[in-house]
């Protein structure tokens, strides 16, 4: 990703060590990344992010609006982006479901924004105060039509802060909604969070077009990131619509144009997966079993992995920091080299289907699913590792 960065605006950076929960760290990360607009609707277990942003907004010079619901919240955020702001909102499953239509609009109109889903156990209203990872597929397939989204999953309050900044940077560069898939456990647990000095935080600024008026195009269908935008009031003529559009943004509803637009939307993400995907790997070389995990579950998995190693089992860890685009290339590389992939997750089996697809039958895949409401008992993951090593 060849992209211009600048140091963070010190006004938004509360530098120093903190003892903070994941939800608060998301708000701090957003402020550090330059987010100065937040429209939202409170919902457990994401409300603390909402509250933190509201509390800090006046001192940072940001705008905070509590809207009447999630539909209007996401819509206000889209408007604010085209008014020149970096925006974030936060919700959980039920609220995300309401936001989905306009997240699709943001993807189609290439509107950068960050949406945090602090996942709780579902379906429907489910168990508001209990943890889960059940919205993994919704983050990608929620909106109708073909969408390539970026989604990240933090495993700690520190990573909530770090990934909030990364989410903004990816979102600005690729002009795409970026979803942070965290969960009730990470959202509500307190740990040490170190916020670096502003000059050590790299921020991707909004790429605003500055050339002659007649040359401005709000869209470029080149399957790349880094395309410039404008904002209302700067004097450039532009049009934004959810309809299939040309480079000026005006509707051109033909099969040919749909091919051009959809190819661009998909390829700017999937075609740059090597630049986007971040994994954390440990002792994968020579492993019989690789545990593929993400978010809070990866910490429980590491406990199980440590116990398995004490038993002499060769087991590696692959933690997905990036959920979407999926780490397809890496799983294909490992398929056939490892006996078994073990995939624990706090859902009935979602990302495991992606692992299975990419393993292509060359390695066994064991799903360690869970209905949500609590984290795994490490013993259950350990048992799956034992089974997979045989």
């Amino acid at each position: 990703m060849n992209v211009k960065t600048m140091p963070a605006d010190p006004k938004g950076v509360d530098s120093g060590p903190h003892f903070m929960d994941g939800d608060h760290a998301l708000a701090e990360g957003a402020l550090a990344a330059g987010c100065r607009f937040f429209a939202g609707y409170p919902i457990t277990p994401s409300t603390e992010t909402f509250e933190r942003f509201a509390e800090r907004a006046p001192e940072v010079g940001a705008m905070f609006i509590q809207m009447e619901d999630e539909l209007s919240a996401i819509a206000a955020n889209i408007g604010a982006v085209w008014g020149g702001q970096k925006v974030m909102t936060v919700t959980c499953g039920p609220g995300f479901s309401l936001m989905v239509e306009n997240i699709g609009l943001a993807a189609m109109t290439e509107t950068p924004m960050v949406i945090c889903n602090v996942q709780r156990a579902g379906p429907s209203t489910g168990a508001p105060t209990l943890t889960a990872q059940q919205d993994m597929m919704q983050a990608k397939y929620g909106p109708h039509g073909d969408n390539a989204m970026i989604a990240l999953s933090p495993d700690s309050p520190q990573e909530c802060f770090d990934l909030a900044i990364e989410a903004f940077n990816l979102s600005e560069y690729y002009r795409v909604p970026v979803i942070i898939l965290t969960d009730e456990t990470v959202g509500h647990m307190h740990e040490k969070v170190v916020i670096p000095p502003a000059d050590q935080i790299k921020v991707v600024p909004r790429n605003l077009f500055t050339g002659p008026k007649e040359d401005f195009r709000p869209y470029k269908f080149n399957s790349k990131g880094g395309n410039p935008m404008t904002r209302a009031g700067d004097g450039y003529r532009f049009h934004i619509t959810g309809l299939t559009h040309n480079e000026k943004g005006y509707p051109v509803v033909t099969a040919e144009q749909n091919k051009i637009v959809v190819t661009h939307l998909m390829e700017k993400i999937n075609g740059n997966a090597d630049d986007i995907v971040r994994l954390e790997e440990d002792q994968i070389e020579g492993a019989d079993v690789v545990v593929v995990s993400y978010g809070i579950t990866s910490r429980i998995a590491v406990k199980a992995i440590q116990d398995a190693r004490k038993e002499g089992i060769k087991v590696g860890s692959l933690r997905m920091i990036t959920i979407w685009p999926f780490c397809e290339k890496r799983i294909r590389e490992l398929a056939g080299k490892v006996k078994t992939f073990v995939v624990p997750e706090l859902n009935y089996g979602q990302m495991v289907n992606e692992v299975e697809r990419c393993a292509g039958g060359k390695s066994k895949v064991i799903s360690v699913n869970h209905c949500g409401g609590a984290v795994h008992d490490p013993e259950v993951i350990l048992e799956a590792i034992r089974k997979g090593s045989k």
């Binding site: 003892f19 105060t129 456990t185 647990m189 307190h190 740990e191 040490k192 429980i300 440590q306 490490p378």
Partner: protein, 186 residues
């Protein structure tokens, strides 16, 4: 890898969550430990049972929830009734002695009693009960240092009450040190 699990419990309004926040901040920011704090999270109201948990370790905490606390602080009868059975042999039980009626002599665990509410009232307000209890905990366990605890207070108690909270902490701490001496350091 040495790790320790602590449960703070009492009723809503006693500052139970604050106890865990202060201890967690002290450990992870000033005592060079890893600490992960979780709290009972639900539609609880002031006056009902309330608990917060802390996992403390020399290395990164992986499993964020406690499995068997070695230290239990119970500032209410309900909290004591609910949680004391989970203490292992030799575990440390800290109770508010005026609020908790013991159900056994607890000869197999280390029982530490403190009149935290009474001390807080002597300092002017029972709101300082949690700080008295924290000072006492600091003295009777070797989990966290008193210096770190005092350093952790700014930002977690209102500025204008910082001095009196430190005083409350010290009151509990001194009482704990004396209690340990009387116990022969056991």
């Amino acid at each position: 890898m040495s790790s320790q699990e602590i449960r703070f419990s009492g009723f809503g309004g006693q500052g139970i969550i604050r106890c865990a926040l202060i201890t967690g901040k002290a450990l992870s920011l000033y005592d060079d430990k890893f600490a992960t704090m979780t709290q009972s999270f639900g539609p609880e109201a002031r006056g009902s049972a309330c608990a917060a948990q802390l996992v403390v370790s020399d290395d990164r905490v992986l499993y964020p929830y406690i499995t068997q606390p070695g230290i239990l602080m119970a500032l209410s009868q309900e909290a004591y009734d609910l949680y004391y059975p989970e203490l292992p042999k030799n575990g440390v039980l800290i109770v508010e002695e005026d609020l908790v009626k013991l159900k056994s002599d607890h000869s197999d665990i280390q029982l530490r009693r403190v009149p935290a509410t009474r001390f807080a009232e002597e300092l002017g307000n029972r709101l300082f009960t949690n700080l008295v209890a924290l000072g006492f905990l600091t003295a009777v366990t070797n989990v966290v240092t008193a210096d770190a605890m005092k350093q952790a207070l700014p930002g977690l108690v209102p500025d204008r009450f910082l001095k009196i909270n430190i005083k409350a902490f010290e009151k509990g701490y001194e009482y704990g040190v004396e209690a340990m001496k009387a116990n022969g350091g056991k």
